[in-house]
Structures are given as C-alpha cells and as structure tokens.
Amino acid sequence: MSCWQTVQDYGLRAIGIGERLLPRSDITLCEQFTLIGSGLIWNVYFGAFALALGFCLSIAVALGKASSNPLLRKPCEWFIYLFRGSPLFIQFFLAYEAFVLLPRNGIEINLLVTQITAETGWLTKAWAGGVIVLFLNTSAYAGEIFYGALRSVPKGDLEAADAYGMTGWSKFRRVTLPSMLRLGWPSYTNEAIFLFHATTLVFFSGFPAWRQQGDALYYAKYLADKTFNPFVPYPIIAGYFILLTLLLIWGFGRVNKRLNRHLTPETRPRLKLRLQLVR
C-alpha cells in the first residue's frame, strides 16, 4: 500500500472520514505520521475555538475585576481564582461528571407561551464539553493577564484622552483597549501556546473518544501501545506540536507588530521566544 493511499484512508480519520478500522499490525511510519497528523485537527479545533471565545470573555473578566463595583468585581475575582487555582485535569473530570448527571432527555424550560426542551446530551461529547472547559479555563488565565495589563496602562495616555474630550466607550475603544492588549500581548501569546498544549488532555480526562476519533495524543498513545515502541509516535507528535507552536508564535508576532506600530522601533517590545511562564 502506497503512502498516498494511507493518507487518503487515514488523513481525516479523526473526524470520521475514511477507513473505519485503525491499523493493528505491521504499522508503517507513514501510517503513524498520517494518523497523528489527522488527530491534530482536534487539537487545532479545541485550541482555536477556546481561544477565540476566551479572548472576548477574558477582556470582560479583566474589566470586571478592575471595576469598583463589588457586585461586578467579586464574581470575576472568584471566577479567576477558581479556574487558576485548580488543575485543568480536575476541571475536565468535574465538568464531565456534571454534564453526565444532567437529565438525559433534556431539561424542560417553561416559557410563558411555549414549552421548549433543552437537549443536554451533546454536552457530554468532547467537541462541546471539551471546548466549554477550555474556554472557561483560558478566559480565567487570560483575564488575569489582561487585568494586570489594564492596571499598567500609562496614566498619561488616559489623561491625553481626557484632554481630547473622549469619554466612555470611545475612550475605552481608542485608548484603553489598544494599550491593554499591547501590554498584555507577550503573556497572552504564552497563554495561547499553553492552551494548545492543554488540548491534549481532553481525551484523557473522562470525555470518551467516540468511534476512536481522538486527538493527536490519543492516536500517539494508541500507536505506542500497539507497537510497544514509544520512540516513534511520541517524537512525531512532539514534532507536530513544535511546528504548531512556531506557527502560533509567528501569528501572534504579526499581531504584536500591528499593536506596537505607533512606537519607535527602539521602544517596540519584541516578542521573544524566551517566554515567561504563566500557568
């Protein structure tokens, strides 16, 4: 069987397209590369969705935590504390068990005019449940990052905005938000990288891989167990993740450049490869 045939059979195996049966014996190098690569679709899916949704919530949480109104501030502080203080692994387990306990035939919501039934079965599936947990988790971490950035927005910038007569929304959108993003961006890049790494936990923490459609690490472990040789699948997945990380750094570097384009080249903060740890 040629390698191209393998790619056609297993290239989209992780989303259920192609051969049903996974390779069992005489596993070739090509099959390993293809299967693990196809699993990467899930990692990118989890990471991209959680990151996109989490970006919006994290800004809201950061603003809430910086608010002077305790009714807004306290829930945000608790949210951040809860998700940053506990292991993601436990959060996955907890969320899965909670979703399983929801009534199987849906929750009946009584609106005054009609009855609607909210389906809950989909929450126990990895595609939804995994994204929800990752989304809340990254919102908390990024919220803390942006809160720190918000607190270090230069006072002069805000005074200048006042002097121009800006208030409320326009001041926030034109002055506060860009400065906040600019200052928090290097840490946020780091958070995004670790978020993509964390996506490998989904299928190891309760959420079952339906019809053996799993992520890259799921297939890497499958292959390592089948061939009893860890020295091939794990380096392959490592290589894939290094590429993914470099891609992320490149993309976030482009955004970083745009956020800092008003500064003189010497004062522009460089997005260094040496990242500080946030998690």
Binding site: L94, L201, R279
Partner: protein
C-alpha cells in the same frame, strides 16, 4: 472501624455515612492524598537540581554541553508536558531493560524488537518477575517521579537562566576585577544573588507542579483521581455500601483540596518574597523601605 458497622444495611443515614467514610477503601483514599504530597516533596528538589544543572549547561562555554542545555530548556516550550509524562516512563523502562539485556545476556541471539514485541531475557526484566509486588509499585512511582522531575527541571532551568541573567552584570565584572575566576564569581556572586530574581518564577512553577499532580493517574499510580473515580462510581446492591454515581462529589472534594493547596502556597510565597526583598535593590525592596519596614528584621 466502628463495631456497629458490621451490617451497614441496617444503619441510619448518619451512622451509615460514618461507616462508609471509614471503610478500608476510603482509608486508602485518604492515604493517597499523602502520596500526592509526597510526590510533590520529592519532585520539587529533584526538579530544582535538574533545572540548576540545565541552566548551568545552557550557559557553559563548552559548546556541546551548551547545545544540550539549550535543547533541554527549550523542549518544554514547544511540546505538551503530558507527552513527556507518557513518553519518559516507558522509554526509560525500555532503555534500562535494553542496557541490562546487553550486559547480562550477551549470548542471546534474537533481536530485542520482534515485530510489535519488546523481548528481553528474563534476567534483564525490571523489576524481576520474581520480585515482590511492592517492588513493582515502587518502580512505577520512581519512573513517575523521574518523568515529573525531568519536565519540571526544564521549566526550572528556564526560570533560573532568567534569574542568572537578571543579576546585574557589573557585579560579575567587579568580581572579575578583584581577580576571582569564573567559577568563584559564579558560586560567590551569582548564585547567592539570583534567588530573589528566581523566586516569582519558582513560586509560579510550584503552582504548576501542584496542578500537574493529577496527571499521576495517567501513569497508573493509585492517586487521588484514581480513588475518586473508583469510589465515586455507582455501586450496586452486591456491594457493602450501595450508592448511585457520586463521582461529582468526589471530584468536588479534590477541587477544594487543590484550591486550598494553591492558596496556602501562594500565601507562603508572598511572605517569603517579603523576607527576601528586605534591603534588595529591587522595586519590592524599595517599596518595603518606603513603608518603613526596610531596616527592621522580619
């Protein structure tokens, strides 16, 4: 534990709960909290040592060592840590068995890898088939600790390199001007001063380490996650203590445990930072001086 626990089906709710929570399996569950804390206590110094070695290697003047150190420190940035947790134990196990195989059974002619099997002679097995059960357990814990130490050593190396670079360069140059060798200035000037710069990173790392301990479950250790799943799952009438699916409550207990642990360590590190910042030429030290606590001993 209590005498009246002999027949739980006759007990009232409160007593039933008492008996349930002190059953032998629950005692094992409580001990597993100790396993987690023990692992933390062993791993943290090992990782710090490995990290120190990695940081020194990455700054070495001898280029092969420098490349090795840099590869070690940067590997955790691109690769998810869980990949290492799955890879290191099995790779080490096979590596050690392979070495022992070549040392002890040199007359063995068959290849070690036969298709999908990894075959070594019986004398090379680690641990030996004849060994007690506790040796097998200890061996798997040892591999888990090693995997954790390697990964967190790489994280710690990152932190320590940053801290070493943060010590003002002029101090090293002054040491050189006084005639100290590279080794002397490293041990007498750099190492004593770097800790205050390293502490924020190391405290962060400690929090990450705490939050990584549930992954022990994936390495086949009977830790708190294992017991929470085991005990929480629904038990039918055939069990002594039948109950529905209680895993949610068990995991809530774990959540509270971890929240308390991270909260306690955060407070501890805050106090330590205050102590270390006394009299230091850093922002923190300056703030302490202004607050009027600068000169007084803590």
């Amino acid at each position: 534990m209590f005498e009246y626990c002999a027949d739980p089906s006759l007990l009232s709710d409160a007593r039933w709960m008492m008996c349930y929570l002190t059953s032998p399996k629950h005692i094992a569950f409580y001990y597993s909290f100790g396993t987690v804390l023990g692992l933390l206590a062993i791993t943290a110094p090992c990782a710090l040592l490995l990290g120190f070695g990695g940081a020194v290697a990455a700054r070495s003047l001898f280029w092969p060592l420098r490349i090795l150190g840099k590869a070690y420190t940067s590997m955790v940035r691109g690769i998810p840590d869980i990949v290492f947790f799955l890879f290191v134990p099995i790779a080490l196990d096979q590596g050690l068995e392979w070495l022992r195989h070549h040392a002890k059974c040199s007359d063995w002619t068959e290849p070690v890898r036969q298709g999908n099997d990894f075959v070594v002679c019986p004398q090379a097995k680690l641990p030996l088939n004849s060994a007690d059960a506790w040796v097998h357990d200890a061996y798997s814990v040892f591999l888990a600790v090693l995997a954790f130490s390697i990964v967190f050593g790489a994280f710690a190396a990152n932190v320590l390199i940053g801290a070493m670079n943060a010590v003002p360069r002029t101090q090293i140059e002054t040491a050189g001007a006084y005639g100290m060798t590279r080794r002397q200035s490293f041990w007498r000037i750099l190492v004593p001063q770097m800790w205050v710069y390293a502490l924020p990173g190391l405290s962060n790392l400690w929090q990450i380490l705490i939050k990584a301990t549930p992954l022990l479950f994936l390495l086949g250790i009977e830790d708190i996650v294992y017991w929470a799943r085991e005990l929480g799952g629904s038990k039918t009438r055939t069990f002594t203590y039948p109950h529905p699916d209680w895993r949610l409550y068990y995991f809530l207990v774990l959540l509270v445990f971890y929240l308390a642990l991270t909260n306690l360590s955060e407070r501890f590190f805050q106090r330590m930072m205050t102590r270390l910042s006394h009299g230091q030429a850093t922002l923190g030290g300056e703030a302490l001086r202004k607050a009027g606590k600068g000169g007084a001993a803590a």
